[in-house]
Symmetry: C2
């Protein structure tokens, strides 16, 4: 079950952007700095490796009462007992994930347009990740930068909370919130900083 | 729920080995020729694409009352309502897949040694895929050819049915069955043949 306050500072992991530091260590530091929710995102690794990694992360998030969300892989989320799954537009349909995951399971969906946000809400999503709000180097496909206007449009189109993702850092976090977002999702603004805990603390302060 | 007779002639798909023919068409032809069970195996495609493909295959297998098994992706199996999942040693732990999938869900596990077969049986597997029995070009990793002796050892180590996989065709299918296998799993012996239906019919005859 999603608590809207948990969306405030949402860390998405990417081992390629963490300056070589172990995933569990970066998650631990980020939570110490004030991260409120963690999503593990892994592509192109064997399922068992993803499972093992997610299970390690879950031990940390559980100890701090932080929800853990698994990107794409609903089966891994259910196998480890994570709080939820985050689905992109190329992942499983939200409506099927809801049926399999059950009522209390947290489901987030990435949306690039209000139409996608509305469909996700109808199909049972708990929150929307809208973006990319700003240009970012973290993801290869940034063909569609939605800007703050696109974020506002997404937030206005649904009743469920919307978080902004893409190119968000201390300089623009406040305006993302001012545009109607319940929180910000970041990767490199925390993971690629020399001091992860400090980077998370600074972002938390920017969010008011 | 697994019917041991369904393991007799088990087709694993591989779009790279089907001479460019569409997956659904090859499955349809293979079933017409006598295939008793179908496993969809896809690597490195987006989840939604795998889901769509599996759903297309399910329409065909359902029409013919043939169980459909999804390789690795328990979430896709559950999302489309497939009969089961097949797990390799690098996939999710069988024990977690059983817990998530429930009692009646079919779970197969690949095993290369009697120890792996015994562990899978203990963790709730319904059947074992033992191999590679013979050298094969279908899979990159054939470091461990277990031979008919390895197959016999695997079959003798567990109570659940064992099927042979790897390099099996009309010339050696009978000896695989004679070595204690409940069936054979094939890819190229059906998929890479010019006439898929005929190839499946010939194999069925070899199985007695």
């Amino acid at each position: 079950m999603l608590n809207i306050e948990d969306l405030k500072l949402y860390l998405c992991t990417d081992r390629g952007l963490s300056l070589g530091r172990p995933l569990v260590e970066t998650v631990e530091d980020a939570i110490a700095g004030g991260v409120t929710m963690v999503q593990i995102r892994e592509k192109d690794i064997p399922s068992r490796e993803f499972y093992d990694l997610a299970l390690q992360a879950l031990r940390v998030t559980r100890a701090h009462h932080i929800p853990l969300i698994i990107n794409d892989r609903l089966d891994i989320a259910l196998a480890i007992g994570a709080e939820g799954v985050h689905l992109g537009q190329s992942d499983l349909p939200c409506i099927e994930a809801r049926r399999v995951g059950g009522e209390d399971f947290i489901i987030g969906v990435s949306a690039h347009t209000p139409a996608e946000a509305v469909r996700a809400e109808r199909d049972g999503a708990d929150y929307i990740g809208a973006g990319a709000v700003f240009p970012t180097g973290s993801k290869a496909d940034v063909s569609a930068i939605i800007g703050l206007d696109g974020l506002k449009a997404a937030a206005a189109s649904v009743k469920i909370p919307v978080i902004g993702i893409g190119g968000i850092g201390p300089k623009n976090a406040a305006e993302v919130i001012a545009s109607g977002a319940a929180g910000i999702a970041v990767i490199s603004a925390i993971l690629s900083q020399p001091d992860i805990r400090e980077a998370a603390m600074i972002l938390r302060r920017c969010l008011g």
